[in-house]
Amino acid sequence: MVRERIFEEMAQAVIDGLPDKARALAHDAIQAGIDPLEAIERGFKAGMDVVGDGFAKGELFIPDLMMSGEAMKAAIAALEPELMKRKQQRQVLGRVVIGTVQGDIHEIGKTLVATMLAASGFEVHDLGVDVSPQRFVDMVRQVDANVVGLSALLTTTLLNQETVILTLKEAGLRDKVKVIVGGVPASPEWAEEIGADGYAENATEAVEVVKRMVGV
């Protein structure tokens, strides 16, 4: 009974987009001996699902989604040590490495995609902006990523999406990871030209494409 109430509060904290509240509830759950996996599934993620539905129906908007994503992130970060202690792994749809390619400091599109992917149940490793091809490769190897997402806003830096793909090939990782590209100058034709596996026009489409890539 009390546990049910805690799960509801967790969901609500995510729906309301309150990272501090979500973090506090995560700590409370650990204190109370609640299984962190259950806290994620029945609590926080349940809230995220509500927000996702609202966005799909046009009732909620990007800022709602982003703040809920932040709350979700805060909760998971707080539960992470307990998961390690219990040698548990949370169920994720896949692991995604994402970043804006070298020479480009445009953040917003990539951040939107990263948040939407995390909100949809992916484990997301956001490398930030101006990311060198080698850093992409290292991270893909380190987390055993299923998908790597490459963002670029400038026509001049778009070319570096291809450089990352070539670097992945040299490292012998290209067959192990799917590549999705995005950004204003990118296009399905460009994705095909450089041998990427997919392209998305916006963050919502990116989630669909990445889900297809991992077979869900």
């Binding site: 982003m66 917003i108 902006v129 026009e201 916006n202």
Partner: protein
């Protein structure tokens, strides 16, 4: 505490066409026209009232002295409130409070199912009212269509019944003559439960039109006097065509328009002090290639806004015009003319902004144009709501928190403000190309028509009790019987 001196706030954008000196010149010129040129008043009752009050009279020609106008202006109210069948749906006709609504009496419509252009029937007039009823930015309703298939001398009662059934919003009606107005007043009293409630909060305003230049028909004057007696607020405004029924110059057109409106103010106050009068009207040009009265001309937009300046200076409610077009279909021209006129009329601060939905220079009452213009009004209202400047909205702390290279999407500040700061469109398409293509490559016209059909198929207005409707139908039937022979 942070004290500051001489700080001014613009809660909305500031817009006006005329200076106070220019307004005064137009007003004095109108007084000069009334006193020196005079008017033709076809109603003997009207002439007698004006003569007894001190006007010079020769047959049906009446010269109205300035002092009589000034006296009338001291008793005519500067605010009027009306409410629909739903008594909570009110419009406050007070300086700078804006409301949009349809126009009346277009002969034709485009059938939304067949695209055929045909005459308005009772059902079409009912449907037009349902569409206004469903649209959030339409605050009052005029018939949009002229009911065909009934007697010309009683069409107004049929039309009023269709409007009453279709919407619970406040109405602006037209009337064939005094008798037609009396019947509709009786119908309104049936709906409200008696004349006391009508007097307390009128259900409709009646639209009465003098005939430019400087003519006032017997029907117009009789309706005016009846309205004054019964406490029915009235719009007394001409449709001046600059270059044809009024001087070609904008200022001259305004002088004549104002003089004609002021006849309504004087006559109404002579009949009953405190009678409510709304001035303004459709001021536009005759298009000198085609001879039409243009409903899309920039001159109409400008004249409407300038006349609003005059009305506000006189502290009288203003009947203005926007959301209409000379185009025959819902095309780019219709969108341009709707958008420009709606934005300017909104900025001007006119009270009853009518003719939303007119195409073909007022001959075609278009459901599509009405629905599209509703979206334009929503957009215009966002512009009107201006920019709030406070420490919270200046957001320096948020800028500091985010810093160079960060982003604002995950700031609580963003979520706190985006709903109030941004207008959320319902018909504008902002998808990216692939999404737009995937959803059927729909144009604005496609999306507008889909919304029209959705409203027609689903919107249910507040019902009228069956016994009340039966009494309304009886009044209409009696009028038909009187005129059948």
């Amino acid at each position: 505490m942070n004290m500051r001196a001489n700080y001014q706030v613009n809660a909305t954008p500031q817009f006006r066409v005329l200076s106070e000196d220019q307004i005064e010149e137009i007003y004095f010129s109108a007084l000069e026209v009334l006193e020196r040129v005079g008017m033709r008043i076809y109603s003997e009752e009207g002439v007698a009232l004006l003569r007894d009050a001190g006007s010079r009279v020769q047959g049906d020609r009446v010269w109205i002295p300035s002092w009589l106008v000034q006296e009338a202006l001291t008793t005519v109210p500067s605010r009027i409130v009306i409410a629909g069948r739903d008594r909570n749906k009110r419009v406050y006709l007070e300086k700078d409070k804006i409301y949009f609504g349809t126009g009346s009496d277009c002969p034709s419509l485009v059938d939304p199912y067949t695209d055929a252009v045909r005459k308005y029937t009772f059902d079409d007039v009912y449907n037009a009212a349902r569409i206004s009823d469903a649209l959030p930015h339409i605050d009052f309703h005029m018939s949009l269509g002229l009911t065909s298939g009934v007697l010309a001398q009683t069409y107004d009662r049929h039309q009023f019944l269709a409007m009453l059934k279709g919407t619970s919003k406040p109405l602006v009606i037209t009337a064939v003559d005094r008798e037609g107005l009396a019947d509709q007043y009786q119908m309104a009293c049936e709906v409200l439960g008696g004349p006391e409630e009508f007097a307390r909060l009128p259900l409709f305003v009646v639209y009465i039109e003098p005939s430019s230049p400087l003519n006032h028909s017997v029907e117009a004057v009789e309706k005016l006097l009846y309205s004054a007696e019964k406490g029915i607020p009235m719009i007394y405004t001409p449709c001046t065509m600059c270059g044809a029924t009024a001087p070609m110059t904008m200022a001259g057109g305004m002088v004549q328009c104002l003089a004609e409106c002021l006849v309504g103010v004087v006559l109404s106050q002579l009949r009953r002090k405190g009678a409510a009068v709304i001035i303004g009207g459709v001021g536009s040009i005759m298009d000198m290639s085609t001879s039409i009265l243009s409903y899309g001309a920039p001159e109409m937009v400008l004249l409407s806004a300038a006349m609003t300046d005059v009305a506000k200076w006189l502290r009288l409610p203003m009947f203005s015009t926007a959301g209409c077009s000379d185009s025959k279909v819902l095309d780019q021209q219709a969108a341009i003319e709707s958008a420009v006129s709606v934005v300017v009329a909104a900025l001007s601060g006119a009270n009853l902004i009518h003719d939303v939905g007119y195409l073909e220079s007022g001959l075609l009452g278009s459901f599509d144009m009405l629905v599209m213009s509703n979206e334009v009004i929503g957009l215009a209202k966002r512009i009107l709501s201006g920019i709030t400047v406070t420490p919270e909205t200046l957001a320096v702390d948020v800028i500091e928190r985010v810093g160079p290279g960060g982003q604002y999407l995950t700031q609580e500040h963003t979520r706190r403000h985006f709903r109030a700061e941004t207008w959320l469109p319902t018909l504008m398409d902002r998808q990216m190309r692939r999404g737009w293509e995937a959803s059927g490559r729909k144009t604005m016209a496609d999306r507008v028509r889909a919304k029209v059909l959705d409203i027609l198929e689903h919107h249910q207005p507040m019902p009228i009790p069956a016994e009340v409707e039966a009494r309304l139908k009886a009044i209409v039937a009696e009028a038909d019987a009187r005129h059948a022979s």
